[in-house]
C-alpha cells in the first residue's frame, strides 16, 4: 500500500506509465488529431488537398446535404436495432448459461466465443451465401412453393449479421455480472412468495444492469462504426457511415471530406453513448454503488 501511495504522489507514476502513454498517444491521439486537421483542409478535385488552407466547408456540406442525413440516420437505427436484439437474445442466453451445470457451462461458453475466432469477412460471406438470390434460404423457400425474396443487400441482412457478430460482446459482460449474484438471494425471493418470473424481473435483472449497460455500449459502438458487414452485406446501395467514409477516401479521393465524416461519426457516437450511460447509470448508480 505504501509504495502504491508513494508512486501516486511522486513523478514515478508518470515514468512508469510512459510506455503505455506513448503507445496511446502515438496510435490514437496523434492519428485522431491528424484526421481532425485533415477534415479542415481545403480540397479541390483538380488540384487535390491543399494542406495550407483551412475551411469548414466539409462540415457545412455535411450538415446541409440530406444524402448524408439519410446515411447517418440509417447507421444509427441499424446500430440501435442490433443493440436491442443483442439485449433480447444475449441477456436470457447469459442467464441460462449461468444456471447450467458443470461441464455444459464451459462447453457453451466456448461455443459462444468461437465465432470471435473467425474473421468477420468470412462470416459475412457465410451470410451472403445463405441470404443470396440463390442462397440456401431462397432455395428452401422455392422448394416449398414460395417466391424468392430479396434478402441480401437489405438492412435485414446487415442487422442479422451484426447481431451474430456482436452477441458475444453482450453475453460476456452480462455473464460477468451474473457471476457476482448471490444464488441465495433468488432462493430468498422465492421463499418470500415471488414467482420465478418475478425473481428474474425484480431481483436478477436490476442487479445485472451494469453488465447490460456495458454490453449495449460496446455493441452500439462497434455496430455504428462497423465496416466489413455493411460493406459486404449492404452492397453498393445500402451505405452506412463507415462505408461512406471508405468511398470518400478511395473512390472520390476526397480525403478531407472523409475525415470530416469520420469526425462527425465519432462525435455522434460519443454523444449517444455518453447520454445513454448517464441515463442508465443515473437510475442504477444509487442502488448498485
Amino acid at each position: 500500500m505504501n509504495t502504491l501511495a508513494a508512486i501516486r504522489q511522486g513523478r514515478q507514476g508518470y515514468v512508469l506509465s510512459a510506455p503505455a502513454l506513448a503507445l496511446y498517444v502515438g496510435l490514437l491521439a496523434i492519428p485522431l488529431l491528424l484526421t481532425l486537421v485533415l477534415s479542415l483542409n481545403v480540397f479541390d478535385y483538380s488540384s487535390g488537398i491543399n494542406s495550407d488552407a483551412y475551411t469548414f466547408a466539409h462540415y457545412s456540406s455535411l450538415l446541409g446535404d440530406p444524402y448524408f442525413y439519410e446515411i447517418f440516420l440509417r447507421t444509427m437505427w441499424i446500430s440501435a436495432l442490433t443493440t436491442l436484439l443483442c439485449v433480447l437474445i444475449g441477456v436470457p442466453e447469459a442467464y441460462i448459461l449461468s444456471r447450467m451445470g458443470a461441464p455444459w457451462r464451459s462447453i457453451f461458453l466456448i461455443l459462444i466465443l468461437t465465432p470471435l475466432l473467425i474473421s468477420v469477412v468470412v462470416r459475412a460471406f457465410g451470410w451472403s451465401l445463405l441470404l443470396g438470390a440463390d442462397g440456401l434460404v431462397n432455395q428452401t423457400l422455392q422448394a416449398f412453393g414460395g417466391s424468392p425474396m430479396k434478402l441480401l443487400y437489405t438492412p435485414f441482412a446487415v442487422v442479422i449479421a451484426l447481431v451474430h457478430v456482436m452477441l458475444p460482446f453482450m453475453i460476456i459482460p452480462v455473464w460477468t455480472s451474473l457471476q457476482k449474484l448471490d444464488p441465495a438471494a433468488e432462493q430468498a425471493a422465492l421463499s418470500l412468495g415471488a414467482s420465478h418470473f418475478t425473481v428474474i424481473r425484480k431481483v436478477v435483472l436490476p442487479q445485472v444492469m451494469p453488465g447490460v449497460l456495458s454490453g449495449t455500449l460496446i455493441v452500439f459502438g462497434l455496430a455504428a462504426s462497423s465496416f466489413a458487414i455493411p460493406g459486404l452485406l449492404g452492397g453498393r446501395r445500402l451505405k452506412m457511415v463507415a462505408t461512406l467514409i471508405y468511398d470518400q477516401y478511395l473512390s472520390e479521393l476526397n480525403w478531407p471530406m472523409g475525415a470530416a465524416i469520420a469526425v462527425a461519426l465519432l462525435l455522434l457516437n460519443l454523444l449517444i453513448m455518453l447520454s445513454w450511460n448517464r441515463m442508465i447509470e443515473g437510475r442504477y448508480k444509487k442502488s448498485l454503488g
Binding site: 432462493q187 430468498a188 422465492l190 421463499s191 415471488a194 418475478t198 442487479q207 444509487k286 442502488s287 448498485l288
Partner: protein, 341 residues
C-alpha cells in the same frame, strides 16, 4: 400432532445419502437447533423444509398440511440465509417489504408492518440505507426482519451467525433469542457451533453423517451425552476407561483397561493436594481463559483436561504434582458410536 413433523425424511445425491430416514417433531413456539459438523446433512434438512432441495423419501408435515412437494413460495416460511441474501439493489425498507409486496398487502398496512418489524430488530433508523452501507450485524437483522415480516409459521435460520465476529456473534445470539421469544415463532436453526446451539435453543438435535444421534434439551445434552462423539463435540470431555463394580456402580478403572468408556467434564474435576483424591497427576500445561484456567494434567490414564474458576487465587504452576478428585455420580457411560462422523 406436532407443529412441524419430519417423517423418515431422506435425501440421496446419486450414490450418496445426505440425509437418512430422519424423524423430528417440533412443537409450536419451540426453538430447535440442528447441530453437527459440516457435511452431516443439517443444511440439507433445512433446505428440504424450505423447499429448495427436492425430498427423496419421507414426508414433511407443517401444522397438519403435507408440504413435502410444495413450492417454496407456497410454504410461506421465513428463511434467513448464511450469506443473508439481501437484495443489494434495494433499501432496507424495500428488502423487508418484498415479501409483503408479493402478497399484495395494501400500502398503509405494509408500511405499518415494515415499521413494526424494523423497530423489533432495532433498525428503524436505517430504513433508507442500502445493504452495503450496513455492518454485518445490521445486515443479519435486516435478513431476520425480512423473514419475520411475512409472519411465517416457521422461521428457518441457516448458520445465521457464522459470518459475524466473536463479540457480535454472542450479542446476536441473545438478540435472536429475544426476538424469537417476543414473536413466539417456531424456529429451526442450523449451526455447527455447539455454544450457539446450547445457549439459545429449547432443544438441540445432534446430526452425524446424515442421521440424528441425539435430541435433548441443552442442559441434558451437555450432562448426558450419549456417545463419545457427542461428548467431544458438545463441550470438552475427558474420556476414561471404566467398569461396573459388584454393586453395579460405575467406577473409573485406574489400571487403564475398562469395558466401558466414561465421560467426565473438565469442570467436574477437583484439584487436590498431592496424595489426596482418586488419581495422581502433574500439571503439564495451563491456559488462561479469563474467567477460567484450563489445565492439562498428566496422569496414568493419559492427559486430562481440568477447568478451574478464576477465583483470584494464584494459579498452579506447570510441573506441580496434584491429586484429582470427582463425584462418581458425575461419570457418564458412553455408548459406542453407531455412525462414523
Amino acid at each position: 400432532m406436532a407443529f412441524v413433523q419430519l417423517e423418515n425424511l431422506g435425501k440421496r445425491y446419486g450414490e450418496i445419502d445426505a440425509v437418512v430416514a430422519t424423524n423430528l417433531s417440533v412443537e409450536k413456539g419451540e426453538f430447535v437447533s440442528l447441530l453437527g459438523p459440516s457435511g452431516c446433512g443439517k443444511t440439507t434438512t433445512l433446505q428440504m423444509i424450505a423447499g429448495f432441495v427436492e425430498v427423496s423419501s419421507g414426508r414433511i408435515v407443517l401444522d397438519g398440511r403435507d408440504i413435502t412437494h410444495a413450492k417454496p413460495a407456497s410454504r410461506g416460511l421465513g428463511v434467513v440465509f448464511q450469506s443473508y441474501a439481501l437484495f443489494p439493489h434495494m433499501t432496507v425498507q424495500d428488502n423487508v417489504a418484498f415479501g409483503l409486496r408479493m402478497r399484495k398487502v395494501p400500502n398503509g398496512e405494509l408500511q405499518q408492518r415494515v415499521d413494526r418489524v424494523l423497530k423489533l430488530v432495532r433498525l428503524h433508523q436505517h430504513a433508507e440505507r442500502y445493504p452495503r452501507e450496513l455492518s454485518g450485524g445490521q445486515r443479519q437483522r435486516v435478513a431476520l426482519a425480512r423473514a419475520l415480516v411475512i409472519e411465517p409459521p416457521v422461521l428457518l435460520l441457516d448458520e445465521p451467525l457464522s459470518n459475524l465476529d466473536a463479540n457480535l456473534r454472542e450479542e446476536m445470539q441473545f438478540e435472536i433469542r429475544r426476538i424469537q421469544r417476543e414473536v413466539g415463532i417456531t424456529t429451526l436453526m442450523v449451526t455447527h457451533d455447539q455454544s450457539e446451539a446450547l445457549s439459545i435453543s429449547d432443544r438441540v438435535v445432534v446430526m452425524q453423517a446424515g442421521r440424528i444421534t441425539q435430541i435433548d434439551a441443552p442442559y441434558t445434552l451437555y450432562e448426558h451425552p450419549r456417545t463419545e462423539f457427542i461428548s467431544g463435540f458438545v463441550g470438552k470431555a475427558n474420556l476414561l476407561p471404566g467398569e461396573r463394580d459388584g454393586a453395579g456402580v460405575v467406577q473409573v478403572c485406574n489400571t487403564g483397561n475398562g469395558e466401558l468408556t466414561l465421560s467426565l467434564r473438565p469442570e467436574k474435576i477437583d484439584l487436590r493436594e498431592k496424595g489426596h483424591g482418586r488419581l495422581q497427576g502433574k500439571i503439564a500445561s495451563r491456559f488462561f481463559l479469563g474467567s477460567q484456567w484450563l489445565y492439562g494434567v498428566t496422569t496414568t490414564l493419559g492427559e486430562l483436561c481440568v477447568v478451574r474458576r478464576n477465583d483470584g487465587s494464584a494459579p498452579l504452576a506447570e510441573g506441580t504434582a496434584v491429586g484429582l478428585d470427582w463425584d462418581a455420580a458425575l461419570l457418564r457411560v458412553l455408548s459406542v458410536d453407531e455412525v462414523s462422523a
